[in-house]
């Protein structure tokens, strides 16, 4: 019933004493790195037994705020108070001592240990003496896990054989063994399936009942609504507002959250001039492409001269889509390039395909090699004689041309690729495919880790390619990039297509709404071709 106003305003959480000081209060936290101020006087408070959602776009400052809280960074200004008393958190050990624990997305676990062994790894002073039998250890582990999370886990199972949700239980229990006052969860439901999400929530409610304060960072707004009492929204390093969630909050709460996240001042970023020509013949066709456990069957076509954008959160299937389309990952369904089926990366490239993968340093670039070598990697035939001898001059010439065309810096074909900035590295990767004369581009997070200058240069290149008739499948979580480039956008949520937006409808908040599950498409899209 209560609808949140624009300014910061909190609604008391159920079960918390209104008069007691908040468990945690961050007051006016400011942090700058060199010239860039990442946090401007950010406030946040958490009551005992309260679950507070922390939301905001990437770069909004969430991770920096948490790093300040956990001692990895020191705030330039502002104060941290625990139970009303100011505390100093200069190092991670300080935060740990104060009872602050974080559950990260990257679960660092040793695969061939049992649950019991991994649970107590490196924890000194556990109740189990060194000489206790394995059985006693396992019994203790089982009871600790159940007590901490309310769920059961067989302590004899190997970590590798657990589901991600179960591995999370180990992390949660480890954190709880330290009897924390405050728990921070970083995107905990991204890798989980529906039933597991509910189980996690059960665990969190148990923890909440014990008076633990929880900061819950997530983009899955729809889920956040089920578990958190309010959402604190950051934007551009500042408090953008708070929105009460849950039963009392009413229907518009998530919409309000999205608005606050995005703000009203989204500029049209490098939006391509709308083209009148319709997309040409479908160069890339996906027919019921599915990756079991990640991606439900998806059918899609990308025509010549068209950029189709695909986006979604972690866990939406977006991560496996690029690999699957490029032939790097086994999948069900069919993939066709220029009308013919292809299998595997070799087949894809042979049909004019180009894959710019997300993990640039491992999969995209030959980091040790020179730019020249990198640029020719996909087109060796065109710079070699019939018997296979490389034509060095031709290679050098072509490399120089590409470097000039793409404005790669340093403009030296002999430069070692690892020395280049991310943006220049990505230009080299793109250049490789230009050299190969590719027509079908699968771009996976193409400007991740790329500076602004290179970014716009890359966009120019993409636009130019498309104008010349290439087909581009743009897989990205950068919503502005999507808005600026895509002719149409497909949004994935938990492995399924939940929306397809025409160019005019593609706005950051619309896309974010679908990607986070906050909005549902009221009308199904046209039959996928």
């Amino acid at each position: 019933m209560t609808s949140a106003s624009k300014g910061p305003e909190t609604v008391g959480a159920p079960g918390a004493a209104a008069s007691a000081p908040p468990l945690l209060r961050l007051d006016g936290i400011t942090k700058a790195f060199g010239a860039a101020t990442v946090l401007h006087a950010v406030d946040l408070d958490v009551r005992p037994g309260e679950i507070v959602g922390l939301v905001g776009e990437n770069g909004a400052g969430k991770s920096t705020l948490i790093k300040v809280l956990t001692g990895f960074h020191t705030a330039d200004a502002g104060q941290i108070r625990l139970d009303g008393r100011p505390v100093e958190i200069g190092r991670p050990a300080d935060a740990e001592r104060l009872g602050i624990r974080v559950i990260h997305q990257d679960q660092h676990l040793a695969g061939r240990l049992t649950v019991a062994e991994q649970l107590y790894l490196g924890i000194a002073g556990t109740p189990v003496a060194r000489r206790a039998s394995r059985r006693a250890l396992e019994a203790q582990a089982a009871s600790d896990i159940e007590r901490a999370t309310g769920q059961r886990l067989d302590p004899r199972v190997l970590v590798d054989d657990l589901t991600v949700a179960q591995q999370q239980l180990i992390q949660l229990t480890r954190a709880m063994l330290a009897e924390p006052r405050l728990l921070v969860l970083d995107e905990p439901t991204a890798p989980l399936a529906a039933a597991e999400v509910q189980q996690l929530f059960t665990t969190l409610r148990t923890l909440r009942g014990r008076g633990v304060g929880i900061i819950y960072i997530s983009h899955y707004l729809q889920e956040l609504e089920q578990i958190a009492t309010r959402a604190v929204v950051l934007r551009n390093g500042r408090n953008a507002g708070e929105v009460a969630l849950g039963e009392q909050a009413g229907d518009g709460a998530l919409g309000r959250v999205v608005e606050l996240m995005v703000g009203r001042s989204v500029e049209e970023f490098e939006r391509r001039p709308a083209r009148t020509a319709r997309a040409g013949e479908p160069l890339l066709r996906l027919r019921e492409l599915a990756v079991p456990g990640h991606l439900a069957p998806l059918s899609l076509e990308v025509g010549a001269g068209e950029i189709v954008g695909i986006t979604g959160l972690v866990g939406s299937g977006v991560e496996v889509l690029a690999d699957a389309v490029a032939g790097r990952r086994p999948h069900e369904g069919q993939t066709l390039a220029a009308g013919r089926r292809y299998r595997g990366a070799v087949g894809f490239v042979a049909r004019g395909g180009a894959y710019v993968p997300a993990n640039r340093r491992r999969d995209g670039l030959l980091v040790k090699a020179s730019l020249r070598e990198n640029l020719s990697l996909a087109s060796l035939r065109s710079i070699s004689t019939r018997i296979g001898l490389l034509r060095r001059n031709a290679e050098r010439r072509r490399a120089a041309e590409l470097i000039t065309r793409l404005d790669v810096r340093p403009a030296d074909p002999n430069a070692i690729a690892s020395r280049l900035s991310g943006g220049n590295q990505q230009k080299v990767v793109l250049g490789r495919w230009l050299a190969a004369g590719a027509r079908i581009f699968v771009l996976d997070q193409p400007t991740s880790g790329v500076d602004v200058g290179s970014r716009s240069q890359i966009y120019q290149q993409i636009n130019r390619l498309v104008d010349e008739g290439a087909a581009v499948l743009l897989i990205t979580v950068d919503l502005e990039e999507l808005v600026g480039l895509a002719d149409r956008t497909v949004v994935l949520y938990r492995g399924e297509r939940v929306a397809e937006l025409a160019r005019g409808d593609t706005t950051v908040d619309a896309v974010l709404g679908y990607a986070s599950g906050a909005s549902r498409a009221t009308a199904t899209t046209q039959e996928a071709a």
């Binding site: 776009e57 997305q105 959160l313 790097r328 340093p410 430069a415 070692i416 943006g423 602004v452």
Partner: protein
């Protein structure tokens, strides 16, 4: 086992996955060095690259001082002759390491081909038949390696180790328990004896000529052909190579087969030179070949093995051995000298590399503050 490539010090505070939406003003390139040109081309010089040449220079210098015979033409010629077979094996190993693997069974390829050649000669076959058989056996070893490594995805070290195992006992079996084969002089066909060094090719002993030819071929293959370029990529970053459309499995197979074939050439020459076959004589080459390849890799700005580098490594070993011989060091101390030299050179290579050295480097870096 899931490993996230986190560099020490660990910073678990950083969320890993990208999130939707982005704030333009706080964008920065991931390494924070947007647009700043970095030094470092494949042509520039790094401290590490000087290690091998300095070692070579040091060896030349020291032994010239200690022995007046060292720098004489006939001595150096003998050195080259001695090291020819090692050079062959080392070029073969270069191929394999370049392809991202290692081959511990190269000695087996050498031995089996020597065995086949010697046995057939002893049985009175034509020289070319014996040679062909020798090469065939070598290729067979390579095929087995390829099958295990590419087909069964067994890590190269373990796969070639087991081929080494099996190959050793195959030798035993075929020789009825390890009996050597001796070829009596008159019964050896001319061609075979020629290979053994009875004659010269354009004024240089056969073995050296063969080694040079193979080295040139290997060097050309790796540096000047499409195949070599693709193989190098497949060896350094197989995923990236595959994405770029290279056929990684086929490249790997050809690397192992070719390497074994080259080793087989060494085996045939060995049989010709020693006029017979002595079991397990090929083993000696493997470890030195590996050492030479990795010494050679320090010569490259990017730590990439190469034929010229490997030859430098071979030269280092050969000159060291020769020098120690000339100053009368007992055979046993020679081995020690070789081993220590290898260790020192490799360590220097690692510590002096731009990002190498681990704790030592950090220690030095902090001292500089």
């Amino acid at each position: 086992m899931s490993n996230s490539p986190v560099q020490a010090p660990v910073n678990p505070g950083a969320p890993a996955a990208p999130e939707p939406g982005r704030d333009r003003t706080s964008r920065r390139s991931s390494d924070g060095r947007a647009g700043v040109p970095r030094s470092g081309t494949v042509r520039s010089l790094d401290a590490r690259q000087l290690v091998a040449p300095l070692a070579l220079a040091a060896i030349l210098f020291v032994f010239t001082l200690l022995s007046d015979q060292f720098l004489r033409a006939d001595n150096l010629a003998a050195v080259l002759n001695q090291s020819a077979l090692l050079a062959l094996a080392a070029v073969a190993m270069t191929l394999v390491v370049r392809a991202g693997g290692i081959d511990l069974s190269l000695g087996v390829a050498i031995d089996l081909s020597a065995l086949a050649a010697a046995a057939l000669i002893a049985d009175g076959y034509y020289a070319w038949v014996a040679i062909a058989a020798g090469l065939g056996f070598g290729a067979l070893v390579g095929l087995v390696n390829a099958l295990l490594i590419v087909g069964l995805r067994i890590p190269p070290f373990l796969a070639t180790l087991s081929v080494w195992f099996v190959g050793t006992s195959v030798q035993q079996l075929l020789t009825g328990g390890g009996a050597p084969i001796y070829l009596s002089g008159p019964r050896v066909p001319e061609e075979f004896a020629f290979l053994g060094g009875s004659g010269l090719v354009a004024g240089i002993p056969v073995a050296i000529a063969a080694a040079l030819a193979v080295a040139l071929l290997g060097w050309a293959l790796l540096e000047a052909t499409r195949f070599g370029r693709a193989l190098t990529a497949a060896g350094e970053q197989p995923r990236a190579a595959a994405i770029a459309g290279r056929r990684v499995p086929a490249l790997t197979v050809s690397a192992y087969v070719t390497a074994s074939l080259l080793a087989a050439i060494a085996g045939v020459l060995l049989a010709a030179r020693t006029n017979g076959f002595v079991p397990a004589s090929g083993q000696l080459y493997v470890l030195d070949a590996i050492g030479a390849v990795f010494i050679g890799a320090t010569l490259s700005r990017i730590g990439r093995p190469s034929v010229p580098g490997t030859l430098v490594g071979v030269l280092i070993f050969a000159l060291l051995a020769n020098g120690m011989n000339l100053i009368g060091l007992s055979f046993f101390w020679q081995g020690l000298g070789r081993g220590v030299a290898l260790l020192l050179i490799l360590l220097a290579g690692v510590v002096l590399a731009r990002d190498g050295g681990g704790p030592l480097r950090r220690l030095l870096a902090s001292a500089r503050r």
